[in-house]
């Protein structure tokens, strides 16, 4: 393995940059740090925050993307969460939703449980696995220039798209969004489905 690259990007800066261009994009966030990151970047009714169901973020996004083929769907999750649902890469690649992108905020650690290392710091290449599964576009981002280049992948490129952004483990303030799942679901459906939300 090549010498390890230095990781400099801050997760909150990365997520703020991504959602700056959100438009009418729908976002599913995974348990747990990416849910806090999304809240820190600004609460939004088009955010669906998962506070549980570890491993389910990508495929939740797939179900949403298949139901809303005219809307861009971005799944924002962590490396540990993605690893737990790794089979979802195959399921998503085969379903081939053109409107779905996943962005893994990869700090190579389980951030919520004591910063134990994940596989991604030990050679497991998530975008490589996504490419092998058949994702249309994949990228790994190590710096700001590459992050800018990844923005059109997340928003405009025919999916499914997989982007991993390598971020450091610097401490960030804990910012929590609403956590009542029923309220999060109702608010999201009202935003997306309008008068069909309570059918």
């Amino acid at each position: 393995m090549a010498a390890k690259k230095k990781i400099t990007l801050n997760r909150r800066d990365v997520v703020s940059r991504i959602v700056r261009d959100r438009g009418d994009m729908l976002m599913v966030t995974g348990l747990g740090s990416t849910t806090w990151d999304a809240a820190a970047a600004g609460d939004h009714p088009n955010n669906f925050y998962l506070w549980g169901g570890m491993g389910g973020a990508l495929v939740t996004g797939l179900g949403l993307a298949r139901a809303q083929p005219d809307r861009r769907v971005i799944v924002l999750t962590g490396d540990g969460e993605m690893l737990m649902g790794i089979g979802g890469l195959a399921t998503t690649a085969v379903a081939a939703p053109a409107n779905l992108a996943i962005c893994v905020i990869d700090n190579q650690h389980y951030g919520e449980t004591g910063m134990q290392e994940t596989h991604t710091g030990h050679g497991v290449d998530l975008p490589g696995m996504a490419a092998a599964a058949g994702f249309a576009e994949t990228a790994t981002v190590w710096n700001k220039t590459e992050l800018e280049a990844a923005i059109p992948l997340l928003y405009d490129t025919k999916g499914p798209v997989f982007v991993a952004v390598k971020v450091n483990t610097d401490a960030v303030p804990m910012i929590l969004p609403m956590r009542d799942g029923t309220a999060i679901r109702a608010r999201f459906r009202e935003s997306v489905l309008r008068d069909r939300a309570h059918d």
Binding site: L26, V28, F48, L50, W51, G52, G53, M54, G55, G56, A57, V59, T60, G61, L62, G63, L64, A65, R66, A67, Q68, R71, G85, G87, G88, A90, T91, V94, A95, G181, T182, I184, R185, F188, R189, V192, L193, R196
Partner: protein
Amino acid sequence: MAAAKKKRAAAPTWPADIFRTLKDAGIAQVSYVPDAGHASLIKSCLADNHIKATRLTTEEEGVALSLGAWLGGDRSAVLMQSSGVGNCINMLSIIEETRSPLLMLVTMRGEWGEFNPWQIPMGQGTQKSLEDAGVIVYRVDDPDDVAETIYAASQLAFNSYRAVAVLIGQRVIGFKDWRK
């Protein structure tokens, strides 16, 4: 025995009944991990232009997919074998916590006439596991009751926003004859 064999040899109509029932219930997405008991139904779903069928790697993906589908306004159903129920348990929490509908159609193994002892632990624990995880369970053991039961389950799931599983007994499916 001759009569029983003859009865089993005729192509069952309940898989077609399920498909019609899913269409009647407005199901737009179907996800599945295959089971022999669902083979004919899966074929029908794949051939239907208005059903988005998703093949899964493991059954809990179907639970997450159902939540995503509901967030986007689609009704969905998940097809699996009873052994797959065990894979779903933690993911079922996202359905209960968001009070979203979930319709699971589970073909049973590990019970009526089972040959494979390795199927027994999960088959015998399927209903209890689902109920412990907050899922309402209907069971059907007569092929003539399959369609009505699934229709009732779909109405309960989508009108009352609850997780509902229909267990299709091994007696309906017919057990695997390992002598063949």
